[in-house]
Symmetry: C2
C-alpha cells in the first residue's frame, strides 16, 4: 500500500516559508531553506507549490488573511465608524510595535521586486488598494472628506516605515483628527 499523504503538510510548509520570507526577505530565502525548516522533502514542496513565485503568493495571501482576521477582531467591539477607524489605526500601531515586526509584508515584497507584475505582486497591490478603500469608507462614514483620507493614509504609510516609537504619536494624531470632525459636525 502507498503511504497516506500527511494532512496539513501544505500548512506546515507555508508557515515555515512565511516566517522565513517575512524575517529575511523573499529574495534572501532559498527553497532549500524552506524545506529544511518545514522538515519535508523538496519534492513535497514542489508538489504543493510548483514555483517560488507561487509560494510567495501563498505567503502574501496568508499574511492578508491573518491581517484581515486581526482587523476584524479589532473592529468587533467598535460601534460606529469613528470607533472603527480608531480601532483600525490602533491595531496597525500595535502591530508595528510588536517584537518581531519587520515592516509591512506587502510593501516589502514590492520593494524587493520593483516593477514586477507576477502573482505575488498582484496580491500585494490588491491588498494595498483594498486597505485604502476600506480606509476611505470609514473616513466617509464619519463625515470626513478625501483630504482626511489622504492624510490618514499618509500617516499609515509612515507608520509602516518608520521607528515603532512613533506609533503612539500616529494614534493620538488620528484621534485628534476624528474628534475635530465630530466637533465640526456638531455645529
Amino acid at each position: 500500500m502507498a503511504r497516506a499523504p500527511a494532512p496539513g503538510t501544505r500548512d506546515t510548509i507555508l508557515t515555515a516559508a512565511a516566517g522565513l520570507f517575512y524575517e529575511y526577505g523573499v529574495r534572501a530565502v532559498g527553497m532549500a531553506q524552506v524545506v529544511e525548516v518545514a522538515g519535508c522533502g523538496k519534492n513535497l514542496l514542489y508538489k504543493h507549490f510548483p514555483s517560488k513565485a507561487e509560494l510567495a503568493a501563498a505567503y502574501l495571501t496568508l499574511a492578508r488573511r491573518e491581517r484581515e482576521r486581526t482587523i476584524r477582531e479589532a473592529l468587533r467591539w467598535a460601534d460606529g465608524p469613528a470607533d472603527s477607524l480608531m480601532a483600525l489605526v490602533t491595531e496597525i500601531a500595535d502591530s508595528v510595535t510588536r517584537p518581531g515586526y519587520r515592516g509591512c509584508p506587502f510593501r516589502n515584497y514590492l520593494t524587493e521586486f520593483p516593477g514586477e507584475s507576477d502573482e505575488p505582486a498582484m496580491v500585494a497591490l490588491t491588498f494595498l488598494a483594498d486597505a485604502r478603500a476600506q480606509l476611505d469608507a470609514l473616513v466617509t462614514g464619519i463625515g470626513g472628506d478625501a483630504l482626511m483620507a489622504d492624510r490618514i493614509w499618509l500617516i499609515i504609510n509612515g507608520l509602516h516605515t518608520g521607528p515603532p516609537a512613533q506609533a503612539q504619536v500616529a494614534v493620538d494624531w488620528i484621534k485628534d483628527m476624528i474628534s475635530s470632525v465630530r466637533l465640526t459636525e456638531a455645529l
Copy 2:
C-alpha cells in the same frame, strides 16, 4: 612606458551600478550586469570595488551626496527656519513625483537586507538618523516641539512609501502646521 590608467573609470562604474541598483534593487542586479552597463572588464570593477558590498556602500554614499546637494540648493533661497523647513519638504515631495522615482534608496536597501549591519546598511542608517536630526533642528528653529517633529517625520516616511499623488497633500499639510506654530507664537 606603461599605459595610462583611464581617468574617471571609478565614476563610470559607480554611475552604472547606482542606476541599476536603484531601478532593480541591489539583490536583483549582478556584478556581470554592472560590468556590462559600465562597459568595462570585471578586473577593473573589482579593482575599484573589492566586493559587491563595497559597491553597494559606494552607491548609497553617492545617493547621499546627491541628496544633500539637492537639499542644499533647495535651502539656498530660503531665509529663516520656517522657509527652510518648507523648502525641505517641498524638495522631498518633488523628488517622489519625479518620473524615475522608485522609493528611498536607503529605506529600500534596509528592506532588501533586513537586520544587516554591513557597510551599506550603516550608510543607510546613518543617513536616516542624520536626516531626522536635520528635521529636528529645523522644527526647533521655528519653535516647534518634539511632537511636531515626530509628526512631520511620519509624513515624510509616508511620502517615501505611498503613491506620488499624495505629495501635494503632504506639502500643504506641513505648511499648515508651520503656519499654526507661527500663529501660536504671535499670541
